[in-house]
């Protein structure tokens, strides 16, 4: 192709890359924490270690990568960019990174002042980011199910941040609040209202695009995000009287989980109908994620219908591993292996000129390296799930999680270095061609 056309001014490639390169570091930290705590990490969801572990994965890995990915999705899905992209992302990245470290330190060392500093860091940086992105999503003339899902997802992020800040404030200033109830609602909005809706909104666009499947059926894309939002909102309201779960609350939770199963099943079916039967890392990551989502959401239904399962300490660990290590980490890894090569390619086009061949996306990260990380991550998932009945498996599971995150980080570093190398080569070739005429 020829890149003689000029490209719109997009933020420099370092803007999204900083989020992507930071996320796996928190994944490694989560693996190290698992090794440090051993089987004690499984004992309860309320221990300091379990809360630190949850936030290393949910905020350190997932939210970090999702913020970067959302910034990239806006120009693709909405044809829009956010206000002051460079400044906003630098501010968000710094606030999110420091805030996550403070939050995790607060949980681990049970020290109030860590929470007191973490609250303003996280609230201001993430809150500003969410509002700016939401404004961009409402101002775009673009329409469609992806835009609707992204708007609701960002609203879900705002709910999650608000409730999270409330909980952290209660730790920081010893406020008497109904912590258990707020935590349930905070977790549901973080995993369902924000993360799952973001994945769904992105999936409507990228699954047909990159995996060459038929489009998602209109009945699903029209109803999924709005229905999940109303179910979550109604379920959240049932917690207000602070009473034991009643039948209505259980029915709402089961309906939301069933909806998640439907989304995952439709995605798996579309992948089975893809036009090119090529097996590649992103497809495998998405398949594992959707299969994990079916299992996780089914487990939620079983748990809701059998209240006794809550007493089994392994249930929260099982759900946490399924959702974070099984669903969201694989989706994010698979997406990063498309987003980073695509960004490299787009930015290299800007350097070139007619007749100058720009390296293609496949040259950015070697596929065998991505497949290796997929195998490591699958091993981590299997071992950590095995740790529910056999707690000693948490040690090899932690090692596999660290290995997977190191491999992911290195693959992303390779993509970054390849961008620098290809940029340099293109500029040198341009300089050589211009030299005789000057």
């Amino acid at each position: 192709m020829q890149p003689g056309l000029s490209f719109e001014q997009a933020p420099p490639i370092s803007v999204p890359f900083r989020f992507f390169l930071t996320a796996p570091l928190f994944g490694m930290a989560a693996g190290l924490l698992l090794l440090w705590q051993g089987p004690a990490a499984l004992a309860s969801r309320w221990t300091s270690a379990a809360l630190a572990l949850t936030h290393l994965l949910a905020v350190g890995f997932m939210l970090q990568a999702m913020c970067g990915a959302l910034l990239q999705m806006l120009p693709v899905a909405a044809g829009a960019n956010i206000w002051q992209p460079r400044r906003v992302t630098q501010f968000t990245h710094a606030g999110l990174t420091v805030g996550t470290l403070l939050l995790v330190a607060g949980f681990l060392f049970e020290t109030a002042w860590f929470f007191r500093i973490a609250v303003p860091f996280m609230t201001v940086s993430l809150g500003a980011f969410a509002l700016i992105v939401l404004i961009a999503l409402f101002r775009t003339p673009a329409q469609g199910p992806t835009i609707i899902a992204l708007r609701i997802a960002v609203f879900g992020l705002i709910v999650t941040i608000t409730l999270g800040a409330t909980l952290a404030s209660s730790f920081g200033w010893q406020l008497a609040l109904p912590l258990t109830e707020i935590t349930h609602v905070h977790a549901a909005w973080g995993l369902g209202g924000w993360s799952l809706l973001l994945v769904a909104g992105v999936a409507y666009l990228v699954v047909p695009m990159f995996q060459l499947t038929p489009p998602y059926p209109a009945w699903l894309t029209r109803s999924f995000s709005v229905t999940l939002f109303f179910l979550l909102a109604a379920w959240s309201i049932t917690w207000l009287p602070l009473q034991r779960p009643d039948g209505f609350q259980v029915a709402l939770a089961c309906a939301a989980a069933l909806l998640a199963v439907v989304f995952a099943a439709v995605t798996l079916r579309l992948q089975a109908q893809r036009r090119r039967k090529v097996i590649e890392p992103t497809l495998l990551f998405w398949r594992v994620a959707m299969a994990s989502l079916v299992v996780a959401a089914s487990a939620v239904i079983v748990q809701q219908l059998n209240p006794g399962t809550e007493d089994y300490a392994g249930t929260p660990f099982l759900l946490g591993v399924l959702l974070m290590v099984g669903v969201f980490m694989p989706v994010i890894s698979g997406m990063l292996y498309k987003i980073m090569p695509f960004l490299n390619w787009m930015h290299l086009q800007k350097i070139g000129r007619p007749g100058l061949v720009v390296p293609n996306m496949r040259q950015m990260i070697p596929e065998p390296r991505m497949m290796m990380q997929f195998r490591l991550h699958l091993a981590a998932l299997a071992l950590l799930l095995g740790a529910v009945p056999l707690p000693w498996l948490v040690y090899p599971g932690g090692v596999a999680l660290i290995a997977s995150c190191i491999w992911l980080e290195w693959n992303l570093v390779v993509a970054t270095r390849n961008f620098a190398r290809f940029s340099r080569e293109l500029e040198e070739r341009l300089a050589q061609e211009q030299a005789p005429s000057s």
């Binding site: 192709m1 020829q2 890149p3 003689g4 056309l5 000029s6 490209f7 719109e8 120009p75 693709v76 899905a77 909405a78 044809g79 673009a142 469609g144 666009l205 047909p208 695009m209 990159f210 060459l212 489009p215 209109a218 036009r275 090119r276 695509f342 390619w345 787009m346 007619p354 996306m361």
Partner: protein, 73 residues
Amino acid sequence: MAEERVIDGRGLMPPEPMELTLTALDTLPDGEELTLLLYCEPHPLYGILRQNGYTHRSQTRPDGTVEIHIRKV
């Protein structure tokens, strides 16, 4: 009569449809139209077209295919 120029990008992996479109625009005579078929609205391409003096209009078929008609302003 001018030949119809159509790029069917529905079975192609990104960024191949964009590469083919930009290459085809190179040789698109003034007054003629290039049609691109996709399953989504290519917003990044729209930005490039706007910046380089091309106009486009799109319409969605019942099967979800988006038809994008591009011509020089």
